[in-house]
């Protein structure tokens, strides 16, 4: 990685007039340039992998199966090309800004439509900004992607602290609350006085916190992993008790899905308790890859959407491919952020899907293969200022990554009323 302290000729450079807080900390353009030695070292480690024996079952009930890992490692070693990913990253403007003592890496792409709606999009775990690369042009340049000029967004995509090219916290306290404050400051530093925020997975926790903090300028949030579970039901489900009350069919389905999810999140419980003990995800590429792959969705653990991507080499519609899955894993490896990313689970002491009490305008898209399908009834109670609610017909936990076209269509629809109001004011 190389940081440039002087602005280089780049696509859509940051307009000087937006660099309002420059005296506080400069916004520095950033280019990803991984030394060739790091890539050689990675390949050498993959080639030298010492494998466990095959699991004792014929399915994935003991973890990521050996045959799958060996196939993936072979492809990673012999065919995957990080430089292509690097080129994709460097094709968009990357920056570093220091906020609250730490360097924050972010992608910032301004639309050519000046009255575009500024949007900050927050990735999750085991993801990174790589989850969001396919939505950037669709959001910023809608007329090239079936939209109208009124659908345009200025897009800001930060790397969470401890993730990717952002700095790693050296003291405790960097949970979703603090990141939410940092994102508000980032938007302010970029000169955005009114904007919206979006997130799934950890990104959903962060945008919920932004909603709670309601910083000046934040008009609304969109979440694809809404926290809607009523307190009494959440308590019962956590304890493994039958949920109280008279539930609708949708609510009952959500309870069943949550119970399934709670049985598949040992990785989260582990990282919440012992993130530092995961030395293997810093020292072993296959150890890291297995750890990152073993995240569930509604259709399996590892996530069915990711497993099916491992056999998809290209996709015209933007569906997730094997290379993208490895791009993300390789980013964790090259930045050595497996453990620092895990620490976010340790930092967070709140609930998973319980209603948080957000009162600003909220838009929700429910993807069918998400951890649970939030019922509209719960969503209306959890987010009393619900401006948009839709159930998509495909996509899951990694919605932006799996179904970028659909995801972007959702964001356009979700924020249309905000867009209109902002333009007319």
């Amino acid at each position: 990685m190389a940081e440039k302290t002087t602005a280089a000729p780049r696509p859509a450079p940051l307009p000087a007039e937006l660099d309002a807080g420059a005296e506080a900390s400069p916004i520095r353009p950033f280019t990803v340039e991984i030394p060739e030695a790091d890539l050689r070292e990675l390949r050498a480690r993959i080639a030298a992998t010492r494998w466990p024996d095959k699991e004792a079952v014929e399915d994935d009930s003991q973890g990521v199966p050996l045959a799958l890992m060996q196939d993936l490692a072979r492809y990673w070693l012999t065919e995957h090309d990080w430089r292509k990913c690097e080129a994709r990253l460097n094709a968009v403007p990357n920056f570093i800004i220091k906020i609250d003592g730490l360097d924050i890496h972010f992608i910032h792409v301004r639309s050519e439509h000046d009255d575009a709606l500024p949007l900050i999009v927050n990735h999750g775990w085991p993801g990174s900004i790589i989850e969001q690369l396919k939505i950037i042009d669709r959001l910023t340049n809608p007329t090239a992607h079936g939209g109208t000029a009124e659908d345009a967004f200025h897009v800001v995509i930060p790397s969470m602290l401890g993730y990717g090219f952002s700095g790693k916290p050296t003291s405790t306290g960097w949970g979703p609350e603090r990141m939410a404050r940092a994102w508000a400051e980032l938007m302010e530093r970029l000169g955005y006085t009114s904007y919206v925020a979006q997130g799934g997975d950890w990104g959903a926790f962060v945008v919920d916190q932004m909603g709670l903090q309601a910083p000046d300028g934040l008009l609304a949030i969109h979440t694809n992993m809404p926290a809607t579970v009523p307190a009494d039901i959440d308590t019962a489900l956590q304890a493994g008790d039958p949920p109280p009350g008279d539930l609708s069919a949708e609510e009952r389905r959500a309870c069943d899905q949550l119970l399934r999810t709670y049985g598949q999140v040992e990785y989260a419980r582990y990282m919440a308790a012992r993130p530092q003990t995961l030395y293997g995800i810093a020292d072993s590429p296959v150890g890291l890859a297995a750890w990152l792959l073993d995240h569930n969705d509604a259709d399996g653990q590892p996530a069915a959407a990711v497993l099916s991507a491992l056999s998809r080499t290209t996709s015209d519609s933007g569906e997730l491919t094997r290379d993208e899955v490895l791009d993300n894993i390789t980013l964790y490896w090259l930045t050595n952020t497996g453990v620092s990313a895990s620490r976010l689970y340790w930092e967070y002491k709140g609930g998973f899907f319980n209603a948080k009490g957000v009162s600003i305008p909220v838009a929700i898209t429910v993807f069918p293969s998400e951890q649970y399908q939030a019922p509209r009834s719960w969503a209306e109670r959890a987010y009393p200022n619900l401006i948009y609610f839709n159930e998509a017909d495909k996509g899951g936990h990694f919605a932006a990554w799996e179904q970028p076209q659909l995801f972007v269509a959702e964001l356009r629809a979700a924020f249309r009323s905000i867009h209109d109001k902002r333009r007319s004011s």
Binding site: R50, E266, Y267, Q276, A282, N336
Partner: protein, 406 residues
């Protein structure tokens, strides 16, 4: 490793002989470790501390000598025998005192037979260790399936029940018709199950972990101060120290990739057990102040055994089997049969929780021995082999009245 057929039976003698290349490869990997950034706290609350693990790995790569461990193992008679489709490795030391009591003792996780080596002298040769001939045991120390030099089950179902059956078969094969069993940690689970299965010839069991209260569907009572303190300790463990259990009982293969490929990952995983033992072990490396027998060499012997045998994942799988068995029992709503034969128990102060006598008596109807000692923790046999051996002697003394062994 090499095996040679010793007799016409299916018990073969066994020697440990690790090729030099494997030791070089291990050192090379330790030296090439890529470290994560330091934890953000000043204690073990985020996991194994970087300074501790770096000190361990420095010692491991530059000073440690596996050949000494190998010599210690090979100084004892070791054997292999196939039981129920799995090769079982065991140490078998007969006392020179012919009427010694046969004892099968089972290690736990993250341990191995290495934990138990220092008890061999006191238990089999008591007169050289402050005891009398009446304290003597014929000692059998098996490696659990998937651990150390034992084979790795290729099919599911090797839970504690099947292991206990294998141990009864092993004692039978060794022609011990009257014997006792002992265990801590997973070994205590095996001893507990053996007690409930009550195979012919088993006279009694002794444990140093009360396994009936960990993960029990209904928590034990908290009526006395002692009981409340134990409940608090269990609660602390299950909220902050339980991660390895959750991961191993659900996704052993996933963490297994790290444990097989990275020596420091394996070392950290094995060090991250209970708070008491962690700080004792950490102290041995960081401050050079070992507690009891938890010396740098003994700790690294055990980690190296896991590495050289490539058993990080297969050992973790034992917890998966445990989880499956518990879930099955829970779904069936079945309480296990009582262990009605004589039960001895010793509470060590540094254990995950100090089991009160009341809980032990509630768990087992026929408690013939209970004692609380002043030193030692979760790895009681490893940390305090002499004290531990005294407890084993005392616990089984009343069962010797009929004398005789094989």
């Amino acid at each position: 490793m090499s095996t040679t057929v010793e007799t016409a039976t299916d018990i073969r003698s066994f020697h440990v002989e690790i090729p030099e290349e494997q030791l070089e490869e291990l050192r090379r990997r330790i030296e090439a470790t890529r470290w994560p950034s330091k934890e953000l706290v000043d204690d073990r609350s985020q996991g194994v501390q970087l300074e501790t693990l770096k000190a361990l790995s420095r010692y491991w790569a530059t000073e440690y000598d596996w050949r000494k461990a190998e010599a210690k193992l090979n100084a004892l008679p070791q054997f292999m025998t196939e039981i129920d489709g799995v090769e079982i490795h065991f140490i078998h030391v007969r006392s020179q005192h012919e009427d010694a009591l046969p004892l099968i003792m089972t290690h736990g996780w993250p341990g191995s037979v290495i934990e138990l080596l220092e008890t061999v002298g006191p238990l089999t040769d008591p007169t050289a260790h402050g005891g009398t001939p009446e304290d003597a045991f014929h000692l059998v120390l098996p490696s659990l399936p998937g651990y150390g030099f034992s084979g790795e089950p290729k099919e599911v179902g090797w839970d504690a029940g099947r292991t206990a059956q294998a141990w009864a078969e092993l004692m039978n094969r060794l022609a011990y018709t009257r014997y006792v069993a002992q265990g801590g940690d997973l070994g205590a689970i095996v001893a507990d199950v053996l007690g409930r299965q009550a195979p012919e010839g088993l006279l009694g069991i002794h444990m140093n972990l009360l396994v009936t209260t960990l993960g029990a569907p209904t928590p034990p009572p908290g009526d006395t101060e002692e009981e409340r303190a134990a409940l608090d300790a269990i609660n602390t463990f299950t909220t902050s120290g339980f991660g390895y259990f959750l991961e191993q009982s659900t996704r052993p293969q996933t963490i297994g990739y790290s444990l097989l490929d990275s020596p420091v990952a394996l070392a950290a995983w094995l060090l991250d057990h209970d708070t008491d033992s962690y700080y004792k072990i950490s102290g041995a490396f960081v401050d050079g102040e070992p507690v009891g027998n938890l010396t740098r060499d003994n700790i690294v012997d055990n980690i190296t055994l896991y590495w050289l045998t490539g058993t990080g994942a297969s050992a973790a799988r034992w917890y998966w089997e445990l989880g499956q068995a518990q879930a099955k029992a829970h779904a069936a709503g079945q309480a296990p049969p009582d262990a009605s034969l004589p039960v001895g128990f010793t509470t060590f102060p540094g254990e995950i929780f100090r089991a009160p006598r009341s809980w032990v008596e509630k768990s087992y109807p026929n408690v013939t021995y209970f004692n609380e000692v002043e030193r030692g923790g979760h790895f009681a046999a490893w940390e305090e082999p002499e004290l531990f051996s005294d407890e084993v002697r005392a616990a089984f003394r009343s069962l010797r009245t009929n004398g005789g062994s094989s």
